[in-house]
Amino acid sequence: MSGHNESSQRATTLGVSQETLLGKVRQALGRLAGQAIAAAPKVDPNLVRLATADEDLVALFTKRATETGMKVYRVQAADLLRQIGSILEEAKAKRVACAVGTLPQAVGLNDALRRRGLEVVDWQAQPGFEAQYELDAGITDVHAALAETGTLICNSDAGHSRGLSLVPPVHIAIVRQSDILPDMVDYWLRVRSVTGKDLPSSQALITGPSKTADIEGILITGVHGPGQVHILVVEKM
C-alpha cells in the first residue's frame, strides 16, 4: 500500500480526458462539438407493444411467468398469508425477511409469520448485503410487473434492498393485479421523466428463477440467485 499517495496524485492522469475521447469520436464521425443532431428514431408504441391493455393481463402474466419457470398463484387478499405460509413450509424455510413496502405491512406479514413460528429477520438493522446471506426466503412486493414477458420489477429504495430478491434461495413476490402493466413499453413510459439521482440505483427486471445452461446446455435453476420464485397475484386488495 506504499503506492497509495502516489496513486491518488496520479489519478487525474489515468486514461484520457473526456474531451480527448470525444475528439476522437468526432473526428471519426466528421462532426463538430455541439453540432445539432438528427431526431432519434421514433419508437412507435403500436409497433413495439407486444401486449395491450385489452388483453387479460393476469392470464397473460401468469402464462409467461410460468413459462420462465416461476410459480404463479392467484389468491384472494384474505388467503394471502395462508398461501405464503404454505410456500415457506414446503420450502422448509426458517429464517425469512420481508421488504418494507405498502403490501407486506398492510397485511401484517411480519407478525403473521412470527405467529407461525418463523424467525423474521430485521434486515434493516444492519445496512449492507451481509445480513441477507443467512435467509431462507425473501418476501417482497414489486414496483411493477409486465404481462408480455412475465417480468417482476424490483427496485431499490429505503424499504427494498437489492438482496432480498436475489440472495435467499426462495423469493416470494406479492403482485397486485393493478401492478401488472401490459408491456415493457408501459414501464419505460412511466419512468420516462425521471433521471439521475431520482431514479433508484437499481432497477431489476426479473424474468424467471436464476438459471444457467452453461453445462452441456442443460437447464439448471438456482445458480447464484434464487432457484425458486413464487408469485402471488392478489386479485383484489
Binding site: G3, S7, A11, L14, G15, V16, Q18, L21, V25, A28, G30, R31, A38, A40, P41, V43, L47, V48, E67, W123, Q124, P127, G128, F129, Y133, E148, S156, A158, H160, S161, R162, G163, L166, M184, V185, W188, R192, V194, T195, G196, K197, L199, P200, S201, S202, A204, L205, I206, T207, G208, K211, T212, A213, D214, I215, G217, I220, V223, H224, G225
Partner: protein, 514 residues
C-alpha cells in the same frame, strides 16, 4: 506464476475456503502469435468429435429456437422490429459524441464516476488504480467481453488481487485454464466431464458428473467469494444516455451479485453501447434475449443508475464506469460504422455453418464467429488475421439472424477487397484472379478458357477411366485428384468434369438460325 499463488494463498482465510490457482494460461487461445493462421485449429476442430457433438449440435439447436421464438413473438412485425433496432443503434453511433456527452453528464449527476480509456492499458490502469485505492484483495467479476479484450485479469492477479470469474461458464474456464469460445455461452466447447475433473482437481470437490450438483458446488464456492469480495467488476450491455444508466443482462444472477455485494463496482463498457433513452432500450432488450437465447428477457435485466443512494440499504458506495475505445473509434469511420451496432447476441455465431464446425477458439481472438471475423481484423490488424475475412462461404445466414441487420457478408467482401488493394492477398492469387477476370472480359477468351478447362478435365478423367459415355450434354467423368491449389477441392470430394458439349454449342447448333 508461483508468486500469484503465494499471494492467493495468503489472502485465503485460514481453514475456510481453499483458494485455487487461477491461472490465465488459457488466454493464449485468444492472443495467439501473430500473424494468425486459422488452419491448424480449424482443421483440428473439424476432426474433433466432441467439439462437433457439442458445438455443432448446440448452436444448431439455438438457431432453431431463435427462428421459432422470433417468428412466434414478432410475427409479421419482425422485419420492422429489426429495422427499428438497426436504426436506433445506427442513429446513436452517427451522433455518438452527443450521446456520450449526455451520458457522462447524467451518470455523473447520479453519482457515478465516469472514466475514459483510449487503449486497453489505460482501461486496465484505471481499474487497477481503483482497486489500489480501495485496498481490494478479492474481486468478483461478471462476464465482460471488454475485459477479455484488455486482458485485465492477469494484471489484477499480478498486483495481488485475487479475481474470480463468477459466470458459471467463465468460472469453469478459469479453473480449467481455458478460454471462452462463444460470446454468450462461453464454455459451449466443454462437456460435463471436463467440469467434473476441474472441480475435483482445483476445488477438491467429490467427483460428480451431475450438472445440478456441479452447479451447486460452484454456487457454494462463489457465495463465499461474494461475501468477502471488496471489488466487483462487470461489463455492460447498454448505456442509456438520457438517464446515465448502465444495463447488465444476465441469467444466473452473478451480475447482480458482483454489482451489489462489494463496496466498489467498476464497469468496463465499450463506447458503442449507448442508446438514447429507456424507450429505445426497451426495443433493444426485446430483440436481444429473444434473438440470443429465445427467452422473453434475460432472467435479470439490471438497470444501474449511480451508486447506492443514502437511504438505500445495500449496493456499492462507488460506481466507476470506464468508457473504452480500444480501437472502436477506428471502426466508427463511415465505411465500417455499421459493425458497431452489434449487441453481442451471439445469433450470428449460432447461425454460422463455419462457426458450428470450428468453434470459437479457431478464430484466435476474443470475438469469434461472423462478427468476430469482421471486428478482429479491424481491432488487431488485417494483416494479422488474413484468414478471418476469407474463411466464410458468404452464405448469408448471419445477416439473416442479426437483430440489428449488420450486413456481415458484404463487410467480409469489403475486407477482402481491402486485402487485395493493400496487397495482403498473396501475389499468386492476385495474378490468378486478374488473369481469370481478363479471360472473362471478352467472349473469345472466355470460350477458349472454357474449352481448355473442359479438355483438361476430360482428358484426365479419360486417363483414369471414369469418363462416362452417353448423352453429350450430360454424361461426365470424375476426378479424384487435381493439381496445385485446386488439390484442396479433391482432398475432400471428387470433381465432376464438364460433359462433352457446352450449352453454347447446343444453342449454336439448334437455335442460332431460328
Amino acid at each position: 506464476m508461483s508468486t500469484f499463488e503465494a499471494k492467493n494463498q495468503a489472502s485465503a482465510p485460514a481453514g475456510t475456503h481453499a483458494t485455487v490457482n487461477l491461472s490465465i494460461s488459457g488466454q493464449e487461445l485468444l492472443f495467439p502469435p501473430l500473424p494468425y493462421d486459422i488452419h491448424a485449429r480449424a482443421d483440428a476442430a473439424t476432426a474433433n468429435k466432441q467439439l462437433q457433438d457439442f458445438v455443432h449440435v448446440a448452436t444448431y439447436r439455438k438457431d432453431v429456437t431463435r427462428k421459432q421464438v422470433t417468428s412466434e413473438t414478432f410475427g409479421p412485425k419482425h422485419g420492422a422490429f429489426r429495422d427499428l433496432g438497426a436504426a436506433i443503434k445506427q442513429h446513436t453511433l452517427d451522433h455518438l459524441d452527443h450521446y456520450l456527452e449526455m451520458f457522462v453528464e447524467r451518470a455523473t449527476a447520479a453519482g457515478a464516476k465516469v472514466h475514459f480509456a483510449q487503449t486497453a492499458d489505460q482501461a486496465n490502469d484505471i481499474c487497477l488504480d481503483v482497486a489500489r485505492r480501495c485496498g481490494a484483495k478479492l474481486c468478483v467479476k461478471s462476464k465482460s467481453m471488454v475485459t477479455e479484450e484488455t486482458h485485465l485479469l492477469p494484471q489484477l492477479q499480478a498486483m495481488g488481487v485475487e479475481t474470480v470469474e463468477t459466470d458459471l461458464g467463465e468460472f469453469i474456464l478459469q479453473l480449467d485454464h481455458d478460454a471462452p469460445s462463444h460470446i454468450v455461452t462461453p464454455m459451449i466447447h466443454k462437456d460435463r466431464r471436463a467440469v467434473a475433473r476441474a472441480f475435483e482437481r482445483e476445488l477438491g470437490a467429490v467427483y460428480t458428473e451431475d450438472p445440478q450438483q456441479l452447479t451447486g458446488i460452484a454456487r457454494a464456492y462463489l457465495r463465499e467469494k461474494y461475501r468477502r469480495a471488496d471489488l466487483g467488476i462487470s461489463g455492460g450491455n447498454f448505456l442509456v444516455a438520457e438517464t446515465g444508466s448502465l444495463v447488465i443482462c444476465t441469467n444466473e444472477g452473478n451480475g447482480r451479485f458482483c454489482t451489489s455485494a462489494p463496496k466498489v463496482h467498476v464497469a468496463f463498457v465499450g463506447i458503442e453501447k449507448l442508446v438514447p433513452s429507456y424507450e429505445h432500450l426497451g426495443v433493444m432488450l426485446k430483440l436481444l434475449a429473444r434473438t440470443s437465447t429465445g427467452q422473453p428477457l434475460t432472467v435479470y435485466t439490471h438497470v444501474i443508475t449511480g451508486p447506492r443512494r443514502p437511504q438505500e440499504h445495500d449496493g456499492p458506495g462507488q460506481l466507476h464506469i470506464i468508457l473504452v475505445d480500444n480501437g472502436r473509434t477506428e471502426i466508427l469511420k463511415k465505411e465500417t460504422r455499421e459493425m458497431l451496432r452489434c449487441i453481442r447476441c451471439g445469433a450470428c455465431l449460432n447461425a454460422c455453418p463455419v462457426y458450428r464446425k470450428i468453434g470459437g477458439h479457431a478464430y484466435g481472438a476474443v470475438y469469434s464467429g461472423p462478427i468476430g471475423a469482421l471486428i478482429t481484423p479491424l481491432f488487431r490488424g488485417l494483416a494479422n488475421y488474413p484468414d478471418l475475412p476469407n474463411a466464410s462461404s458468404l452464405c448469408g445466414a448471419c445477416f439473416e439472424a442479426c437483430p440489428v441487420k449488420i450486413d456481415i457478408p458484404r463487410f467480409l467482401v469489403q475486407l477482402r477487397s481491402e486485402m487485395v488493394s493493400r496487397k495482403i492477398t498473396k501475389l499468386s492469387d492476385r495474378l490468378f484472379y486478374r488473369l481469370w477476370a481478363w479471360s472473362l472480359g471478352r467472349s473469345w477468351t472466355y470460350r477458349i478458357g472454357g474449352w481448355m478447362q473442359k479438355m483438361f478435365f476430360r482428358a484426365k478423367a479419360r486417363q483414369r477411366g471414369t469418363l462416362a459415355k452417353g448423352d453429350p450434354y450430360r454424361s461426365r467423368g470424375w476426378l479424384d485428384h487435381l493439381p496445385g491449389p485446386a488439390a484442396g477441392w479433391t482432398s475432400q470430394r471428387d470433381m465432376p468434369t464438364p460433359p462433352a458439349r457446352s450449352f453454347r454449342q447446343w444453342w449454336n447448333q439448334e437455335r442460332s438460325s431460328s
